[in-house]
C-alpha cells in the first residue's frame, strides 16, 4: 500500500515543473467549467495533493541534494509555489532556503535552465 502511493507520488512529481507552467493558463477555464455545470461544483477530479516530504519522511532538505530540489524548481528556475506542489508550509520553508543556497553556489540557476 505504501509502495503504491509512493510510486504515484513520484510520477506526479516528475512532471511537476511543467505542470507549474501550464496551470495558470488552464486555471481561468476551471471556474468557467463550474458555471457550465450549474451548482454541481467542479467538473474535473483533482487528486488531493500531499507533501512529498511528509509522505516519504524526508527530514533533511539539503542544498547539495540537487536532484531533490530540482523537482520543486520550474523550467524557468522559479521555486514552484506550494499551492501547485502540495508541500506543507514547514517543508516549503526549508525547501526554499535550500534552493536559495543552491543557487548561490551555482548548483541551481537563478533564472532559466541550468546552462
Amino acid at each position: 500500500m505504501a509502495d503504491e502511493t509512493r510510486s504515484s507520488e513520484s510520477s506526479s512529481s516528475s512532471d511537476r515543473p511543467d505542470r507549474g507552467e501550464r496551470r495558470p493558463s488552464s486555471r481561468p477555464g476551471g471556474p468557467g467549467g463550474g458555471r457550465e455545470g450549474g451548482g454541481g461544483g467542479r467538473k474535473y477530479f483533482r487528486r488531493k495533493k500531499v507533501c512529498k516530504f511528509c509522505v516519504e519522511k524526508i527530514e533533511a532538505i539539503n542544498y547539495k541534494d540537487i536532484r531533490l530540489l530540482a523537482q520543486f524548481v520550474a523550467e524557468s528556475g522559479r521555486i514552484v509555489p506550494r499551492r501547485l506542489t502540495g508541500v506543507c508550509t514547514p517543508h516549503q520553508r526549508r525547501l526554499s532556503l535550500a534552493i536559495k543556497q543552491a543557487r548561490n553556489i551555482a548548483l541551481l540557476p537563478f533564472a532559466g535552465r541550468a546552462a
Binding site: K57, A60, Y63, Q101, I105, A106, A114
Partner: protein, 132 residues
C-alpha cells in the same frame, strides 16, 4: 564556542591538482591555527555550473566541514575571497540542523523500539512505516 560549518567553494576548472592540494592545506592550517578543527574534506570534482561565474561554465567543487567559532569563518572567507582561483564560495552553519535531525532520529528510533515487540518480524517491520 564550537559550531560546525560547511564551506563549499568552487575553484576554476583549469586549476592543477597540486595547486588545489596546496590551497586546501593552507586552509586547513588556517583552521588549526585558530583552534578550529577540520572534520572532513570532500572533493566533489568538476561540475557544470548552473550559470556562468567569471566567464567559467564549469568549476571544481570542494566541500570543507569545519568546527570552530565565527572568527575562524571570517578568516577563512577572507582567505577564499583573496585567493584568485576561487570563483565562488558558500558557508552554511550545519550544527543546529544536525541537532534537529538527530532529535528526529532519536524519536524515530524510540518509536521503532516500542513497535518492535510486535508478533511477526515481517509485520513488525511494516508497522513503524505505517504509524511513524
Amino acid at each position: 564556542m564550537n559550531r560546525t560549518y560547511e564551506l563549499m567553494f568552487i575553484v576554476r576548472p583549469d586549476m592543477a591538482e597540486e595547486d588545489q592540494d596546496k590551497l586546501i592545506s593552507t586552509l586547513e592550517n588556517a583552521v588549526t591555527s585558530s583552534s578550529g578543527q577540520v572534520k572532513s574534506v570532500e572533493r566533489m570534482g568538476k561540475r557544470r555550473l548552473a550559470y556562468t561565474v567569471r566567464k567559467f561554465h564549469d568549476g571544481i567543487y570542494v566541500l570543507l566541514t569545519v568546527e570552530g567559532g565565527g572568527g575562524l569563518i571570517h578568516e577563512l572567507e577572507r582567505r577564499l575571497r583573496v585567493t584568485e582561483p576561487v570563483i565562488k564560495f558558500l558557508t552554511v552553519r550545519i550544527d543546529e540542523e544536525q541537532k534537529r535531525l538527530d532529535k528526529i532520529k532519536a524519536i524515530k528510533d524510540a518509536k521503532r523500539k516500542a513497535a518492535a515487540p510486535a508478533p511477526a518480524p515481517e509485520t513488525g517491520g511494516e508497522a513503524p512505516a505505517a504509524t511513524a
